[in-house]
Structure formats: C-alpha cells, structure tokens
Symmetry: C2
Amino acid sequence: MAKKQQGDFFEDYKNEDTALIINDGVEQPPIINPYIKNVFKKKASIPSVEWYMDGIRAEDTTVLSQAITLVESSLPEHRAVAQQIIQRCQEISRSKKSMRIGITGVPGAGKSTFIEAFGSFITSQGHKLAVLAIDPSSEKSKGSILGDKTRMETLCNDPNAFIRPSPSAGSLGGVARKTRETIILCEAAGYDVVFIETVGVGQSETAVHSMSDFFLLLMLSGAGDDLQGIKRGIMEMSDLIAITKADGNNVDKASMARALYSNALHLFPPTESGWIPTAVTSSAVTKEGLPEILSKIEDYFKLVINNGFYDRKRREQSQFWMYESINESLKNMFYENQSIEKLLPEYEEAVLEGKLESFSAAAELIEKYKQTR
Amino acid sequence: MAKKQQGDFFEDYKNEDTALIINDGVEQPPIINPYIKNVFKKKASIPSVEWYMDGIRAEDTTVLSQAITLVESSLPEHRAVAQQIIQRCQEISRSKKSMRIGITGVPGAGKSTFIEAFGSFITSQGHKLAVLAIDPSSEKSKGSILGDKTRMETLCNDPNAFIRPSPSAGSLGGVARKTRETIILCEAAGYDVVFIETVGVGQSETAVHSMSDFFLLLMLSGAGDDLQGIKRGIMEMSDLIAITKADGNNVDKASMARALYSNALHLFPPTESGWIPTAVTSSAVTKEGLPEILSKIEDYFKLVINNGFYDRKRREQSQFWMYESINESLKNMFYENQSIEKLLPEYEEAVLEGKLESFSAAAELIEKYKQTR
C-alpha cells in the first residue's frame, strides 16, 4: 500500500478495500461526530465504504445513522460513496424477508402513540424494528417526527428499535428516494421490521404504499369529520384498518366502528395479493389488539411469501422506482430549463383561462424545449 | 381571390376564411366520404377550418365526425388544422356549462344497456347527448364499443344522441388527448351532456376521472366475485353508485346492495366538491331509477356550479392535462432515444434482480441520455 497523503482519500477509496482517513500521514480509524455541522463537507473526513459496511454489518447504530446522513446528502461526492454503500447493503438485504409496513392514519388517531406501543410489542417478540417517516412538509415544520421522537420515549430507549426522522428534502420524489434507500440500509443492519410512517400530506401515502409490503391504516371510532384529514382512495389501499383508542368509554364505539369498516371492506374489489383486508380495534393504553395486529401482519407475510406476491411486488416496486426516478429527472431537466421557466407561467395562464387547449400548450412548450437543446 | 390550382389547398387554407377544395380548377364545396379509406392522406382534400366550424356550429353530425377523425389523426398536417378547430371549439364550449359524466362499471353490470336506457331518458328530457369512450385496448380488440354500438340501437337512431367509438391509439395518453379534444368538439356542436365511458382497463378510469365532472360507477347486487373486474380505488372516486339490473327477482337483492354501499360510502373521507356520494338502484328494463339518477346528477351540478367547484375542477383538469401531456412527451423523447432503447433492458434486468438499486440505475441512464443530446 502506497504511503497516503492527507486529502488523497477520495481519489483513492475506490481502489482500496479498506481505505482509511489519513491524518498527518498516520492511518487512523475515522471518527465522525454528527453534531459537528458540515462535517461531511470536508472531503477528507468521509470514511471508506468498507468502514461503513463493517459498522452496518456489526449492527452499529451510530455508523448506520452516519450512513443514512450520507445517503441523504445531495453533494455529488457523498452520493458516489452512498451509492456503493446502498449497493452493498442491497446485496445483504435482498436475501432477508423483511417486513416493510406502511402506516398512515387520520389526524388524532394517535399515530406516534400507536407506533410507540405497537413497536415496543414487536421488539418484545424478538424483532428488530426501524421506524422511518415520509413527511414532505418536514422542511417547513422542521420535522414533526422530532416531536414524535420525544413522544416515543420507550421506543427511543429500546436497543432493538431505531428511529429516524423524515429526510427534509424539497420534493416528495427526493424524500421517497432517501427513505427507500434508508430502508435498505436498515435491513442490512439487521432490522427485520421497518415501519414507514406518513403524515398523510398530498401524494405521500402513494409513495409509502409503493415502498411497503403491507399498508396499515389507523382510524378513529367516529366517521365523517374524523376523515377530513385523509385523502380518498386510502381506504382501498389498506391491508388492515386498526381502530385506535379502543379503551375506557370508547370500547363500544370502537367495536361498532370495527364492524362497520369490516363490512365496508367486503364491498371492495379483491386485492392483488389474495389477502382479505379486515378491521381490528386496538388500544395503546391497554395494549388490547396489538398481538392481533402482529398476528394479522404475520399471516399476511406467510400468505404473500408463499404465493409469490411478496417477491413480485418487491420487483415491481424496484421497477416502479427506477422509472419514477427517471421521469422525475426528465421533468426537472424540463422545468429547470431557463426558457421554459420564463415561458411556462404565460402558457399556464392561457390554459387556465381557456385561451389555449392543454395539449396545444404542451406541444408548443415541448417544441421550444427541443430548440434549446 | 387568386385562381386556385389542384393541390394548393394546404398552402392556402390559412389565409382564406372559406378555402375550398379545388378539383380540376373549379371551386367546389368539399365532399368527404369517410368510407373511402385514406381519404385524409390526400392533402388537397382537407377542408378549411371555417368549413369545419360552419358545420360544427350548424350541429351537422357528419362534419362533427369528420372533425373528430381529423383530431384523431397523427399526421402533422392534420394536427395543424385540428389544433385550430379545437381552439375555436374551445371558445364556444367554455361558455356553456356542459355536464361531463364519466361512467365505469364492473364486468356484467350491463354498461351498454344502461347507457342505452339512461341516454334515451336524457335525450327525452331535452338534452343533447354525446357518448364517447376511452378504451386503450381497442386497437387490439378493434373497438369493443363497435359491438356496443349495435347494442345501442335506440340511441344510434336518436337524432339528439351522438355515439363515437374509442380512438384506437397505442398509449393511454394518446387516447386520453383525443377523447378530451373530442369532448370539446361535441360541446361546440351543441351536445350539453357528454358520457365518457371506460372499460376499466389499467389506468383508464383515472384518465376518465380527470376529464369528467361527475363519476358514475355501475355495480351489481352481488359483491366479491363481481368486483374482480375493477380496480381498487374506484369506489372512492365515485360520485354515485348505481346498482344495475334491479328488476324481476333481483329487486330485493339490489335494494340490499344499495343499502350496503350507501353505508360504506358514509365511511369514506369527504369529497372535495362537498357532494355526498350515495347509491341508487336502476333497471334498464323497467326504467326504474333513471329519473333519480338524472336528478342526482342535476343536484350535483347545481351544487358545484354554485360553490365554484365546477370551474375550479375544470381549470385544474386543464392544468393537469397540460402537465400530463408535457410529461408524456418528455418520456417519449427519453424512451425513444436510441441509446436508451438499447441500454434500458439490461438496466431494468439488473434492477429486477436486485443487482442495482432503482435510483442508481435511473441516475446512470439519465447521465447517458444527457450525453446524447
């Protein structure tokens, strides 16, 4: 191994299985303090792919967190290392039959409380649980799951649980990519159950649905007003509806709601998986329903692993995200094009006012775009 | 007016309000026989925009049909004329508060029979009705609505009804564009009610939903197996569910189904329009329920025209289709790129086999694409 120089790490790491950071010409294991802001902006401080992989394989949550931070970074040099880590983790994770569970719910259903209670039950059953989130609004709200984290105290202190707030990227596409890659990293680090939580804003349920195996919807015992916060179409996506807060005076109401939803689910078109969605009641206080939910989830996974739907859906999801990501890049190239940026508002205005038909406007803009290339 | 030569129509039509076809140097009104194949391939036989507009304004169905054929053509010279016609029709149609009604149903619900019966009822109430269809499979099946047409004999002979089979284009995007433009032409020709029927294949319901004001779902009185033919999510898109075949021995079963669906609809999140979806029963034999369906539809339109949702949705749809059309063009440019066409299969394979993560594959393909430009 040639003598290394400070700063030559990056030119070097591709050729070395165990590249190390060089400080003062002395080889040392890299130490990264995530609390030092912008630490990743210094090229020389990025550890090697092998260093990350060793940590991930050893199920070291500090290294896992740092790897996720790298995955979330948009700096090209970070991206290059991140892609190698993802690739390596993918190789580890694909042999495992992990359970990716999407969770959403109506506002007030007590999502964090449910995740805290159900998550603790899951780890008590011998699973290792990662809790991730897709929240495209988290840039503005500075991460609502941070608030959640304080409400998930038990889970935060559970050595078998790993909680990671939503990446705060601008576009849903960006958040989705980072979350999907984070799932792979977590699975490689030994987490066999992954929760992907969504706040139910805009298209985020669809994104979560496209990266989970199982979709759990949390509902309250009332109907009507309670449903104000979720979008139409979500009920028909769900594999299981859990009526939360089924405790105290609410037990009867929750049972009634469970019956109503069960009946409604029967009227829905059948699922592709062959699974028959049902409704259950649950309480984060009495823990009632939690074992039943886990057993439903396990039944689902038995069914879909046996009938091949599990693998098929995972493959379709990979394909989906490849095309989704291509299409998003194509759109970015177009909408960030300088002439298009200038022209778009007037075309949109003309279309909105009915002065120009949608397709003519599109055709003209595409013509202009072609001319700029 | 300068003496015209045979074949110089095309260079000429833009400058003439009333360009005519020149045959043997003699100006004659254009006669197009749609049964002569490829007639539109002869440049000289395209009439002027004004000729089409005169016919459309006069509610001449032969001219309307020819205009739609032009809109459906993919020849650039046809497209140029078609876009002008669409623009002119758009100006006429946007002042009218037409009712665009999307219709889908489970297989066996008797869609054509329902449309025949309900359509005849609608024209008997003084409306003019256009029946269009979105059937992306019609290229293969050579237009299932042609079969429908023979089953819609009364409506076919109804002077106040106009039936047009689905355009047989390859992609759903292409079919959607043509259908949306055809709606505008029909409205300009005096049709105040437009049915857009879908066969329920793939994404076609979403397309129909994105170009109608009201979405009607036809269901049978049974559940479960009957629902095999429709996709999840459609129930939550519907503004009205009609249980068909509520006649003879089926009356009680249909009433029960109506009650079940009504209850289920109450459990859904509220609609953006403020409308409360319900379920009704109907029979094409006894005509039971048809007046109720029309009255529900009229109530809906009263509500949404008054609360502004009608205009807002129309504007959003125009915007949606502009962006949808841009995005489809961007995708076509990418996927038809020669290097991409060659590379794509191996990348897709690598992604499906888990050898390459979706987002890395996408990023590499986009890089290659940029290099070819």
